[in-house]
């Protein structure tokens, strides 16, 4: 028995080292993946970066047939849809956060709401897009006829609506945890001075969480910027910029993600393809930076 144990202990030491090495390799794989993504994006968009230069970003014409590429229409579409979606969703997200974090943190109703919100995030985006195409678009179309705009139905506005619903859960979940973390003594101090519930929320809870709530906005924004499928189905796929803001907003357009999704398969020459990839590169940078800033703020928060 003793010898058996002695032998076993030696072979196990070997396996220990093997295991530790495997763990290191697995972590390193993640690093390699990210570096690989970055390099691939740069390499494949290099032809476009080289020949079109920085002017690409504000070029207003996208005409693959004549080999003219300008990213401005897509930047516009992306920013419009994302920020509109953000503005629409934030009041709802933070109402949920205040309700679940402060007014009703426990209990069956709160669980029900929490689960419903999580469900919103769980539904695949293509399903939102598909539903919106058949249900929301006709509604928007009749709305557009009423306000006197061309009744496309699809377009920036419709896409923003769907996007708004889809991104609600992100800021809501974050906001809920942050609001729950406000220390009781702080709130109790305010109540003791005779503040109403609303005043405590407005003057204590929300300011306490200012940067965290901002991080929530960033995370929702990051999600909106990267959303592809629902927007692709809703946005109308037009790369030309209309004349008035009203026409742009209520008319069809394209986002960086949707133009890639729509035209990638058709890109038959190098410059066309690499111009699309360059959009992917820009999208990559923007979403990654926004997400990282958001996460940094949160970690600094939860460590304080």
């Amino acid at each position: 028995m003793k010898n058996k144990r002695l032998d076993l202990s030696y072979s196990q030491m070997k396996w220990e080292t093997v295991f530790r090495r495997i763990l290191i390799v697995m972590s390193a794989i993640i690093l390699v993946l990210v570096v690989g993504v970055f390099i691939t994006l740069i390499v494949e968009s290099w032809p476009s970066i080289k020949s079109l230069g920085i002017g690409y970003l504000w070029g207003k014409v996208w005409d693959p047939v004549n080999n003219i590429y300008g990213a401005y229409p897509f930047l516009l579409g992306t920013l419009l849809t994302s920020f509109t979606a953000l503005i629409i969703s934030i009041p709802f997200s933070y109402s949920i956060a205040i309700y679940l974090g402060e007014y009703n943190p426990k209990g069956w109703l709160s669980d029900l709401l929490k689960n419903t919100i999580e469900l919103i995030a769980a539904v695949p985006s293509i399903i939102y897009g598909f539903w919106a195409l058949f249900v929301l678009v006709p509604v928007v179309r009749s709305l557009e006829t009423k306000i006197g705009v061309a009744p496309y139905g699809v377009g920036v506005f419709t896409a923003s609506l769907v996007l708004a619903v889809m991104i609600i859960p992100y800021a809501a979940a974050l906001g809920t945890s942050l609001i729950r973390m406000v220390p009781s003594p702080l709130k109790e101090g305010a109540y003791a001075l005779g503040a109403t519930r609303f005043e405590v929320i407005r003057s204590v809870i929300l300011p306490y969480n200012r940067s965290g709530l901002f991080a929530g906005i960033l995370l929702s924004l990051g999600r909106a910027l990267g959303e592809t499928m629902a927007v692709t189905v809703m946005i109308g796929n037009t790369s030309a910029i209309a004349n008035s803001f009203k026409e742009i907003f209520f008319g069809p357009g394209n986002t960086m993600a949707s133009v890639i999704a729509n035209e990638f398969a058709e890109a038959d020459h190098t410059l066309y393809l690499s111009a699309l990839i360059e959009l992917g590169l820009v999208l990559f940078f923007v979403t990654v930076i926004i997400n990282l800033i958001g996460k940094r703020i949160i970690t600094r928060y939860t460590n304080n």
Partner: protein, 280 residues
């Protein structure tokens, strides 16, 4: 003085009502969407629907068997890759929190989580499709990369919550490090790790963008993972935007099936966290 308090109290009540209203109003779009999908989709689903491939364009009938089998195969392959890598990386991060590798790797996990799915799709296109052609495998890899951050973070967080006395007890019995992790730590964190895995599956089963240029789609039922393969979300996308009503019908049915999958997976996750949590 009294009047002021009255006004302030009213404000507080109004505010609360506004908050409650806004919070619960959000459930309406969800309910509308769910009910609509269920209504349109449930009519489509029958045995024929599940076992046949789509009929040629313009013809009635057919089913989504190719997409169903395709989704199962693709997601299965992604899981086989992403689960071990994710769990092991998560173990590393929870066991070595101070190291440089942990810092940069953790940073990369956060970055990976934020990468838009379409970007992931085109990158994998260049990595795998360009040299080897369209394949279900390439789609699986794109999806696996998207699964990784979820599995890694949930593993890491589950393990960090375990008390260090657990490891100490095992080590003091002469148990070597790898067995301590694999036979004590991971089993004790099983519920959390499993829910992370199921959540990541629920997430990618509905992803379309990464599959657009990798697994593509196909009208044929195929189990050849080195070739193009249809999947539920891709079918929905293609048929939703097609001009044919019959294809719309198929897309509704597929949406219903996909939705049910996602719902069931989410419910299962909740049950696991509730029931299997090991009392520490």
């Amino acid at each position: 003085m009294d009047a002021r308090i009255g006004v302030r109290n009213t404000k507080s009540i109004l505010f609360k009502s506004l908050i409650i209203f806004l919070a619960f109003v959000v459930t309406i779009p969800l309910i509308i969407v769910l009910l609509y999908i269920i209504k349109q989709g449930v009519m489509q689903v029958n045995w024929h629907f599940l076992t046949h491939v789509p009929a040629p364009e313009g013809e009635k009938g057919g089913g989504i068997a190719n997409a169903l089998v395709g989704s199962i195969l693709i997601v299965g392959m992604s899981s086989i890759v992403a689960i071990p890598v994710g769990i092991l990386a998560g173990i590393y991060l929870s066991e070595n929190p101070g190291t440089k590798l942990a810092y940069y790797s953790g940073l990369c996990v956060d970055i990976l989580q934020g990468v838009p799915s379409i970007v992931m799709g085109i990158v994998v296109y260049f990595w795998i499709v360009k040299p080897f052609g369209f394949s279900a495998i390439s789609g699986s890899i794109a999806l696996a990369i998207m699964m990784l951050p979820i599995v890694i973070r949930s593993t890491e967080q589950t393990l960090l919550l375990l008390p260090p006395s657990l490891k100490e007890a095992a080590l003091s019995l002469g148990v070597p490090y790898h067995r301590v992790i694999l036979k004590v730590i991971v089993p004790c964190g099983f519920a959390g790790i499993l829910s992370g895995i199921i959540l990541s599956i629920a997430r990618i089963i509905g992803e379309t963008a990464p599959l657009l240029f990798t697994a593509l789609g196909s009208n044929y039922l195929s189990t050849n993972v080195t070739g193009a393969m249809e999947s539920l979300p891709h079918l929905i996308f293609t048929y939703a935007t097609s001009p044919y009503d019959d294809q719309h019908d198929l897309a509704w049915g597929a949406s219903f099936i996909l939705l049910m999958f996602v719902l069931i997976l989410n419910i299962v996750t909740k049950l696991i966290t509730r029931k299997w949590k090991i009392q520490l």
